[in-house]
């Protein structure tokens, strides 16, 4: 322990994970807008350009389709590009390359071609930003077969899940909870991580299950704390992966608690919560004491900063859903 355990901010954990990948595999590349000298607008790639040079840490022209499209070509040549999209709202110019090429080329080639491309996207709100800088588009990727979609909630997962994403031979959309970038946590750089696409119980409970990923995990823990004071025992699941979703873990929890509330920042309509609710209701029809409830964004564009508190799930809104569930 000791030596290999560091206390790192989540952004720094990603930085160290990228550094390790660049060190251990000469085929790993980091590319994106301002990832070089600047070290990215969140400093996630800080120092990498200096240490690995512009051949490995590549400032690209300002064109997201071009970034992902050339990353695909580099992957075809044997490289493992880790692409940074500067903000959630700017991934859409690359959406065609992601959906029609990156996601489908392995199947199209009958497995002959692999595209180990990781697309890192800082996502979500809560940082008081202007338009396009606070969105949570994960559902738009999870619906697309051929992609894997994950989102860590803490520094250790950020470090290890990124290692695993880079090692994966499949394209992985790696959603980074930007408002947790500065949250510190312990990272054991010699740990043996569990499988990438599994959920984790981060707090045990018996009355109701809260399922979340990325930035909402911390909130759910706070909700569980608050609920505990009122004598309610909530289990908190960190889903970690959105595609595939670890339904077994959710099912196991719901079979115990009989109640489920799913929390995410993305709009509820056609969001992750819908898929989880539909499938868990099918799997746990006779266990559920209440319908699966969802807490998330409204069917509206992400609002201006001074309204985001109204838009984002918060302690009260999640507790309200918990109350409604328990009232069944």
């Amino acid at each position: 322990m000791s030596q290999t355990v560091k206390n790192l901010a989540l952004a720094k954990a990603i930085n160290e994970s990228l550094r390790r990948a660049l060190e251990t595999d000469p085929k790993v590349l980091v590319m994106g807008e301002d990832v070089g000298k600047l070290g990215g607008v969140f400093r996630v790639t800080d120092g990498l350009h200096k240490d690995f040079g512009e051949d490995r840490v590549i400032d690209t022209p300002l064109a997201e389709s071009g970034i992902v499209g050339t990353a695909i070509g580099l992957a075809l040549r044997g490289y493992r590009p880790v692409v940074e999209i500067q903000f959630d709202g700017f991934v859409f110019p690359a959406y065609d390359q992601i959906v029609t090429q990156l996601a489908k080329m392995h199947a199209r080639s009958l497995g002959r071609v692999k595209l180990p491309v990781v697309i890192r996207i800082p996502y979500g709100g809560g940082i008081g930003a202007v338009e396009h800088h606070s969105e949570s588009p994960e559902a738009l990727f999870a619906h697309v077969a051929g992609l894997k979609v994950v989102s860590p909630s803490n520094a250790s997962d950020a470090y290890w899940m990124l290692q695993q994403a880079i090692q994966s031979d499949d394209p992985v959309i790696f959603f980074e909870p930007k408002r947790r970038y500065w949250d510190k946590g312990e990272v054991d750089t010699e740990a043996i991580p569990g499988p990438l696409h599994t959920a984790r119980v981060v707090r045990e409970g018996t009355d109701l299950t809260l399922a979340a990923y990325g930035p909402m995990v911390k909130l759910c823990r706070e909700v569980a704390d608050a609920a505990a004071e009122e004598g309610r025992s909530l289990e908190v699941l960190d889903l970690r992966s959105v595609s595939p979703l670890d339904f077994d873990a959710v099912q196991a929890s719901v079979e115990k608690t009989g109640r489920l509330v799913v929390v995410h920042e993305a709009p509820v309509f056609f969001g992750s919560g819908a898929e989880i609710a539909a499938r868990i209701t099918e799997r746990c029809f006779y266990h559920l004491e209440a319908p699966v409830l969802r807490v998330g964004g409204y069917h509206a564009p992400y609002p201006p900063a001074r309204l985001e508190e109204e838009y984002l799930p918060d302690l009260d809104r999640v507790l309200d859903a918990v109350d409604r569930s328990l009232a069944y």
Binding site: G36, L38, P61, L62, G89, V130, Y298, H299, A300, R306
Partner: protein, 398 residues
């Protein structure tokens, strides 16, 4: 069978070699120089002298009869714009704004081009065109709402034919082109101008806009403010050749103008808008200028550029240059500068006051204007939200 190349094969020299100039008549050459080696259209030197260059006579003709009044007016525009911009920057520091994207250094490009537009022209800005907004008559305080976080666009685009700021790089070039296609369909003789940056030139949307504009001969002027930087990336990261040359490959003229020269910016933009109005189609203007400040208040340029670069550009300051010209030619006296100083201060004060008094939006605003014709789900969510809010009122009311 093998039919292989008979020519010698040398190993690749480097991945960063120069563009070849090899070619025949049937081959387009790439002989142009990069960056500042290319000449600019300039009508006013950094020292404030009028340049009379025969090659630029056509552009110069568009400002030939410019009066002292008009010159002073341009100066006033630049000074007030800079003052407003500085105020916004300090309001951000004071926490009144969440972010600010300063136009410091780009006043001439913006005022020159902005003043070239006619009232019935239509302008599509990016997020830094505070000077253009000023020329269009948009109240500067309206620009601040989105940076304060109270809205995502705080003015009526049709009020001054000045579209909302567009943050997604390059998108508005297509909107401008479509709008111009509509202008042509209407048989109107107005023109459209789209602003974007050097970084934006790399976006597919901008190239598509160039092509649509060329194919439909749309009356649109593409005004690229090359301020040398796209956040931390310099021109070399975006393009191999000067940006104004991009236009030629799509079939319309491109011209590089000294973007720190308000007169040249005015002249060249008039020229381009005029030919658009005459039905001669699009043109690209590359205004060569410099972002004197940080990309935004969130940025730290010391991480990627040297101070001496900034210093070199300070000598070319657009406001100083016009002031020298005004003074040298006796077009403005101390009284003028003094009054302007007072006007600037008054503007700064007003901006400060308006911003500080700017109310937060109603919490129900989240649900407003998502659709023009309504949407059942939005109604449902609004109702739920209201009930939820009311539940606190109840308990608080007890």
């Amino acid at each position: 069978m093998t039919v292989e190349s008979t020519a010698a094969r040398k190993p690749r020299r480097s991945a960063g070699g120069k563009a070849s100039t090899t070619g025949t008549k049937r081959t387009t050459r790439t002989t142009a120089k990069k960056g500042s080696e290319t000449q600019l259209v300039q009508l006013l030197t950094p020292e404030g002298k009028r340049v009379k260059n025969a090659a630029d006579a056509e552009y110069a003709s568009y400002v030939d009869g410019i009066t002292a009044d008009e010159l002073r007016a341009l100066y006033r525009d630049m000074v007030l714009t800079r003052r407003f911009d500085a105020e916004a920057t300090s309001l951000q520091r004071q926490g009144e704004l969440g972010l600010w994207a300063s136009l410091l250094g780009q006043e001439a490009a913006q005022i020159g081009s902005g003043r070239a537009t006619r009232e019935d022209d239509y302008v599509f800005p990016t997020y830094r065109e505070h000077g253009v907004a000023w020329c269009r008559g948009v109240d500067p305080t309206n620009l601040l709402g989105m940076f304060r976080g109270v809205n995502n666009g705080g003015w009526d685009p049709n009020g001054n034919n000045f579209h909302l700021y567009t943050i997604v790089i390059g998108s508005q070039a297509l909107h401008a082109t479509g709008y111009a296609m509509g202008v042509a369909k209407d048989g109107a003789d107005s023109a459209v101008i789209a602003y974007f940056g050097d970084g934006a030139s790399s976006q597919g949307d901008v190239s598509e806009a160039f092509n649509f504009a060329a194919v439909y001969n749309a009356p649109v002027v593409f005004f690229c403010q090359n301020n040398q930087w796209a956040i931390s990336e310099s021109n070399e990261k975006q393009t191999r050749v000067p940006l104004y040359q991009r236009a030629q490959g799509f079939g319309f003229p491109g011209v590089r103008v000294d973007g720190n020269d308000v007169l040249a910016s005015l002249a060249v933009t008039r020229w381009a808008l005029d030919r658009a109005r005459r039905g001669e189609g699009p043109a690209l203007i590359e205004a060569f200028t410099y972002r004197m400040g940080a990309h935004t208040t969130s940025d730290d340029p010391s991480r990627y550029r040297h101070d001496d670069e900034r210093a070199a550009w300070e000598a070319k300051d657009p406001i100083l240059r016009l002031r020298r010209h005004l003074e040298a030619d006796g077009h403005a006296d101390e009284a003028f500068f003094g009054e302007l100083e007072a006007e600037s201060e008054a503007l700064g004060r007003r901006v400060r006051e308006v911003v500080r008094a700017m109310p937060d939006p109603d919490r129900f605003a989240v649900f407003e204007n998502v659709y023009a014709d309504g949407h059942a789900l939005v109604d449902e969510e609004r109702a739920q939200f209201a009930a939820y809010q009311a539940s606190f009122a109840d308990s608080e009311g007890v």
